[in-house]
Symmetry: C2
Subunit: 172 residues, 2 copies
DNA sequence: ACCTCTTTGTTCAAGTTTCAAGGACAGGCG
DNA sequence: CGCCTGTCCTTGAAACTTGAACAAAGAGGT
């Protein structure tokens, strides 16, 4: 719990955000929560499921044979296996996903997108894409889009549990 | 989905995201969910509350007399009044916030940051700021930080029902 | 005063997420 | 084989979120 700052900041003083950094951080928080809420409501209304569940169906739709091992699906969606377990149970109840045993590993389960699941995607994808466009891409210049992609790529890599050579000094 | 259109902008065909846009969008989704999870866990561990609750305390700490009307606090945090009601109930149970009646409007309630609440903030803010730095600012160039701020500002404004000291003539 | 519409904040029920715990299998090693 | 140890996934309870419905009080108009 000690800070090891020695250079520009006093040893035990935290490095507060500058005024400019605060503006950026708040804008980030506002934009991300507003957008997430917006898309959640859009999908709940039009597809009957929250945004993250929709993302699961998309992940399955793009996978070979429309199926993925639970762990793979969880990693792709950046959620815990526990959360995925509950989510798939719900999607199964809705008839959009079905579970299948893995023949080669008896612990394993496949999540498989059903025809009904694919149909839901087909029906709701245009509206969702449109919502994303309206909220994000339509408002940004090509340069901003490019910049956003780079920035988010960097941030995501930095937080990936077991990737990238992030051996930064672990000061807190 | 197959049915691909050949023209650039057919009237009734959805405008799918380009490959580049998809990359940006996925990077955005991954980065934001990873960062949100990361900060949620950091604060749950160090402060005993989720990120959004922490934001409520910060909002109160910065308000005059460390107090805000429920609706104002909800707007500032970009959450519904219902959610805020539950959150404040929980924060009250933890002793970090207290409710007070509004004298001028008998329906109204103030959420007031207690001394214990301020103390929690004082104790945990450095660690949180540090976490934000490590995950975000330390990884971006000054130009990227600036760009991120602009982009998020635009997105937030686009989704805000209506804000910014806007006294615009609203045609009804 | 009266009536109506809006605002404020809460509550209920249903749904979702988290964390800790656990069952079942796989892989390696003596 | 028997015994670890790690991986895969599920479960249950508690915490959190959501949307609709609600009571109470303000705000205006007539």
């Amino acid at each position: 719990m000690e800070t090891m700052n020695t250079a520009s900041a006093p040893a035990d003083e935290p490095q507060w955000l500058t005024a400019e950094e605060q503006r950026v951080w708040r804008a980030y928080l506002h934009a991300t929560t507003l957008l997430e809420d917006h898309l959640d409501r859009q999908l709940q209304r039009d597809a009957g499921m929250p945004h993250i569940y929709y993302g699961l169906l998309v992940g399955l739709a793009e996978a070979p044979h429309r199926r993925l091992r639970m762990t793979e699906l969880a990693m792709q969606a950046k959620i815990t296996r526990s959360r995925l377990s509950h989510a798939v149970a719900r999607l199964e109840k809705s008839g959009w996903v079905r579970r299948e045993d893995c023949p080669s590993d008896k612990r394993g389960q496949f999540a498989v997108l059903t025809d009904a699941g694919l149909e839901v995607l087909r029906r709701t994808a245009p509206g969702h894409v449109s919502a994303v466009r309206q909220a994000l891409f339509d408002r940004l210049t090509p340069e901003q889009q490019k910049s956003l992609g780079e920035i988010m790529q960097i941030v995501a890599e930095g937080l990936q549990p077991n990737e990238a050579g992030a051996d930064l000094p672990w000061l807190r």
